[in-house]
Symmetry: C2
Subunit: 317 residues, 2 copies
């Protein structure tokens, strides 16, 4: 729940409260387990395996990252492999947990196969996110949370609805050839050709092969099924205890200095925007939405009110 | 030495024997230390800090990765932060060392600032590589070893020499605007806009901030100076012991299956090449060059023979 709301507050609407009805459906149809029994096994002083028992990925993920943080207290670095999980929302959520404890948090997950394979005509790997969060001295942490494609299917949908053509370089049709027609999109193009494709594979190795989960196109998709099917997703979490390498106060001071210097770099006048640090747009959203709330559309308010009624909850919005 | 030759055998000519004269100059002019005294301090059961004392990065790096492997034996995962190092060549070399021991190896290093900052007009971060190596059952390991830009300055040089224009999307001039004239290239464009830029920053956080090294544009450049200046580079190595998560034999079998499936994915007939896995081109080079040797130009043979003469070595090529 925290993770879903945090995503919306940070402006990551695709991974925020918009998905409440989706998760509720998951509980009702059987994909998600309302009463999961986690099974955690510490395998060495710095590692463990975590069976999420089909809990919502957010709940299981934050528990697994907490274990990583706990082990990294004494071991400097720790990693937890998660199996039998489901969609965990925005990867940043887990990294922030580590940053609170003066650690660097890395989080990875499998996702629905969408990324065009290098030289291929169809997707094999998912748009698997890579996320690192590191604390700074005077503001929220540095946060890089990125998928491995130029764009997302969400954005393609927006173009489809508006009847506009896509920019070049975003997507391909079912023959693997580039298309600017959003109705013909079959797979998404990875960043940097083989590089983005390779990053997706790297994440699937960590998330699927280390956890014994299905991989690539065998990964159960987030949508496109009846929500009964469990997803058996794998995640991978790493916590790096900064104190094992350098004094955390010094690290955070230098992290802040790096951020400040970047923002004061000369900007490209043609484009007019200042140089920004990964995570800056989300910091702006967070500041605004904590004050003014999360904007929701009228139809979505109705969806939420219906959900509240269904579950006999007092709150209305 | 091993690392340099391995790079050439794998077809990574930019990081191979071509650089022998560069490193020799480093020894002679003072950048590199012929008799380094490493200082290693184990800081927790899974981490350590390694002062390279200005040794060649290859020598210090492989020593540091060996420490990570040693600690990961019992801790499942381990990380070593390196300071006071220099150019370490191809990042893959260190990952292969981990894969030999049924571990996943990750290696990162700082590099000369070349990557255009997001919305900026000049580079701040280096083209910092991200590398992961993981063992497979029946062939050499999976190896992703990538920099964060679309192209490299080496390739720009080749276009400059041939008088050809660059493809779109590779590079910018000193106002931060895209250029196809190789003579005007000032910075390189990152893969996926803010994503490649963010990956460069992520690597600099691991390599510079955790090791207390200089970062971004303060990093001493590889070329452009008199070779007297020491580089004080930082690296970061992680070893993940597969056995802490899943049986290594099972992991390697599934890694092989993933590779085999990818290679048999339907190819794009328009382009004609089969789907390949990151590291495949290097595997082909390795097979060929182990049989037939490393091709060298006539002028480079003269350079090498001169070096052999200078150092009174028997071998000639």
């Amino acid at each position: 729940m925290d993770g879903i709301i945090q995503a919306s507050l940070r402006g990551i609407d695709s991974h925020g409260i918009r998905l409440f009805p989706h998760y509720i459906q998951g509980f009702n149809k059987g994909r998600l387990n309302k009463n999961p029994k986690y099974h955690f096994k510490k395998t060495t002083s710095g590692t463990g395996i975590f069976d999420a028992n089909h809990a919502p990925g957010h709940a299981a993920g934050i528990e697994a990252m907490s274990k990583a943080i706990e082990l990294a207290e004494n071991n400097g670095i720790a990693a937890i492999s998660v199996c039998n999980s489901s969609h965990f929302g925005a990867a940043a959520y887990y990294g922030f947990k580590a940053a609170e404890k003066d650690m660097i948090g890395l989080s990875f997950t499998q996702a629905t196969a969408h990324v065009l394979s290098y030289n291929g005509i169809q997707p094999f790997f998912g748009n698997n996110p890579i996320c690192m969060v590191a604390p700074a001295e005077k503001e929220g942490p540095f946060c890089l949370d990125m998928a491995t494609t130029i764009t997302t299917f969400n954005k393609v949908e927006i173009y489809k609805e508006s009847g506009k053509n896509l920019p070049n370089g975003w997507a391909v049709d079912n023959s693997g050839n580039e298309t600017i027609d959003p109705k013909n999109v079959f797979s998404l193009l990875p960043i940097g050709g083989y590089k983005g494709f390779g990053l997706s594979m790297m994440v699937d190795i960590l998330c699927a092969l280390l956890s014994g989960s299905k991989y690539g196109p065998d990964t159960s998709p987030m949508f496109n099924n009846d929500m009964k099917e469990k997803r058996y997703l794998g995640h991978y979490f790493i916590a790096i205890n900064i104190a094992a390498f350098v004094k955390p106060a010094r690290f955070k001071k230098r992290m802040q200095e790096m951020i400040d210097r970047l923002r004061s770099e000369p900007k490209n006048d043609k484009n007019g925007h200042p140089v920004i640090v990964p995570g800056d747009p989300e910091k702006n959203y967070l500041e605004e939405r904590i004050k003014f709330g999360i904007p929701v559309s009228k139809p979505f308010v109705n969806v939420l009110n219906q959900l509240f009624a269904d579950y006999d909850l007092e709150d209305r919005i």
